[in-house]
Amino acid sequence: MSATRKILVFADLPDGELGETGRGLLSYGARLANFIDGSWGAVTPVLPEGEALAQFGTYGTPVITRMVGCESLLDAPVLLGKALAQLVAEQSANLLVLPHNDLGATLAPVVAAALDAAIMTEVVSGRRGPEGVCFSRQALGSRIAETKNWDGNRPLVITVPTRSLSQVLMPSVTATTPAMATWQPAALPAGATGTIIERIPPDPQTVDLTEAEVIFSVGKGCDPAIFEQFKELCKLLNVSYGVTRPVYDLGWTGFERMVGQTGRTVVPRLYLALGISGSMHHVGGIKDSKRIVAVNSDPKAPIFTNSDEGFVADLKEVLPRLLDRVKSSVGGAS
């Protein structure tokens, strides 16, 4: 591929922070640029500052283009998409990378339509192909993998599922001090469009466990009193909770909370196993978690051999203290 290929990575900086999605996208952009042998840059409607700005540098972002005056369009994603399309056209970018979250998934078709560009959503992998770049996505409810080749002649818009993004810093990436550029649309897009009036964050208490980032689970080493404390702890820390089969059997939760081979298979960032012995049926459903921490009174419990970190302790002692500690940190609010 020629060196003229230009990749733009879109980062929306929710609450002014890059977050895991933003960092993952930057890492993705750097990797793509590396094997496409092109240039890349980030584009954002928000002015990055402080920690966020530093992270752009850490991930080797050469240029950050701020879409001046577009911050207000974040609540009208279709209009933001039109502005983004103008930017992509003016900068002659060939590839726009968006996160496959609510915003990115809304922007992608708008940008692609405005540019008459190709679009591929939920791309899980990209690799150098015989005549360009091969992108793969899962289709038909993850039942098949669909691979398409992009020859680079026409612009392409892709979205990447946030779960497929890795925040790992590639060894080939060297930290930079990003050049700051601004871009302003000739006229701010306007017109009838849907507007976001409120953002309700997913409630970890109700989110599907398979999507949860942090899960605390209890096993049969608990009684009703401990279980109530446990649920309070999860609520205070705003994490999702799961249970093992024996706890589900006691009727304390619905089936959707049961973690294991015959329940939910989960892949959270952190899995805290409290009073779970670690039967293979349970471990089979959690083993791909990024980090497993276990607390169990039995030092020989098999959960420990499947954990990154283990603590031998009695839940009856630990949980109240943990709860006190958390309560004092979060001011006792619940």
Partner: protein
Amino acid sequence: MMFPNLFSPLKLGTTEVKNRISFQPHLTNLAIGNLPSERQMYYWGERAKGGAGLIITEELTVHPTDMAYEKLIDVYHAEVIPGFKKITDYVHQYDAKIFAQLNHNGQQGDGSISRLPVWAPSPIPDVLFRETPKAMEPEDIEEVARYFAKSAIHVREGGFDGIELQFGHSSLARQFLSPLTNFRNDEYGGSLENRMRAPLKFIAAVRKAVGNDFTLGIRMCADEMIPGGLDLAQVQEICARFEASGLIDFMDLSIATFYNLYLVEGSMHTPLGYTIPLAAGIRERIKLPVFCTGRINDPVMAEKVLANGQADMIGMCRGLICDPFLPKKAQEGRLEDIRYCIACNQGCIGRIGMNKTLGCVQNPAVGREKEWGEGTLEKASVKKKVTIVGGGPAGMWAAKMAGRRGHKVTLIDRNEGLGGQVVTAMKGTGRDEFGVIIRNEKSQVDKAGVTVKLGVDASTEQLLAESPDVVIVATGSVPKKHPVGGADGPAIFNVLQVLNGEAELGQNVCLIDYDGHQRATATAEFLANQGKKVDMITSSLFICAELGPTQDLYSSRQRLLQKGVTFTPDIAVMEVGGEAGAKTVKGFNVYSNVWFDWGPYDSIVLVMGQQVDDDLYMSLKGKVPELYRIGDCVAPRKVDMAIWEGHKIGREI
């Protein structure tokens, strides 16, 4: 719908199967006179009724030299056709498809039943049957191919939808394919091409006989799991070549050989879905529909396997022996009604391996579907007031069955929960799934309208005061009070005390094992896991003597030995002596009659038998209109008999 993948249709050759659940081939020992029987018709029919999309029969033997088991069907005789027709017609009325499995077991059998030499590629005895076979001459191979073809015609005439050729864990074809058993120097041995020649001949002969408009597949051993044997990479290649022949329509899979039979039929200690990676590996290589079988006992898991693209068809065997209606219940989202298999292997493999008819600990109706299958339970003509004392498996089953028939049932137990001895047994190492027996039935007892009273130690007077029409005593058994001289006093404990955490045990423990089953071994492992030094003494020839049929022997012995447990067989223990902290065991070798002393031990654990708890029964005798006793309080046995008797009495009162 909860399971969109599981209940989507699949095309296998010319056969459209309505869902992805296949009732997999397994011995039933239900054939009579080596012909298909009525019991088999009802047995397979029940699974069709229960919603399985596909049923594959047990192995049907294609040649007289293959009589590995006494009660196989000789499919090479045309006499099988009328029986087949009855079976296939019966199954088809429930919109299920049925395939026949054809097999020659080769050296994985012996000639004591057929009175013929067994045939194999090379004169290598099977590790289990240990009979040196006759190395097949080329004309023998041709003959077996002809017999495969002849048998296939009988199958097609019999109304089956397709054929599966057994090339898996126990088959002549695998013996040709595997370097473990094929040492031939002719065109049937050596290179992979040569080793595949005989199996390809069998396939070609069958294809020619049945034509192209008939579904034909094979069951391959995906990995022999033994050094020197076929591994996944080699089997991938073999499968690709079979596929390339263009003669077959699907690829069913099994695992292992008779070197490692415990992997063929993984017991409770084996992870659920233990063969999934193998199925996924084969599916990666070929385009034909691939089956996956092996402890997939749960529709949630089955759905995941399909959604992950690891297989196209889920093979269930024990899962549907245990609950023929699992597919239907899953489709209707009634997960709490499914009776999940626990892979105890006691009723299924544990019985057929001993030449008994197939059974299931949790499903007394296996092989008796005509009498006890779905829809056979009749409402009681006289509604009685029934009191059942003892909420173990026997009592729960009696309550469930009687309640369903319209009796007014009260189930009383002195403990705080149902389950009886199962609640303790499931505390043994690796035995927690045993508790599923109780989990499965709890909701059914409730749904049957039974009044459950827990924490009630009913006296004779209290029971009589309620003036019940029927009392069923299911009070179970307790460890023998005085099984051996000196077995009283401190530092001596029984299994219940150990597993329930009521025993204060020292570091050095001697476990006297007159059980030979999980009661002893799971307890010994429970102790070893606590870091204790355990010596096991038994009067049997070896430790785990009763665990062979359930395929737990190998892995149990392996784990115990790895955990430092020592085994002393052949000893009749006559006395326990010594003070607490320095207990001794005295006994003699049952063959040499030489006496020995063992010790000193900190603690002794006795697994020396159970005795009935029949006080209540005896005190009620003659005082109620109808009095029965069931389960261990009649005679201490295993859970299969408790459930059997509970089920039976519940149907009969």
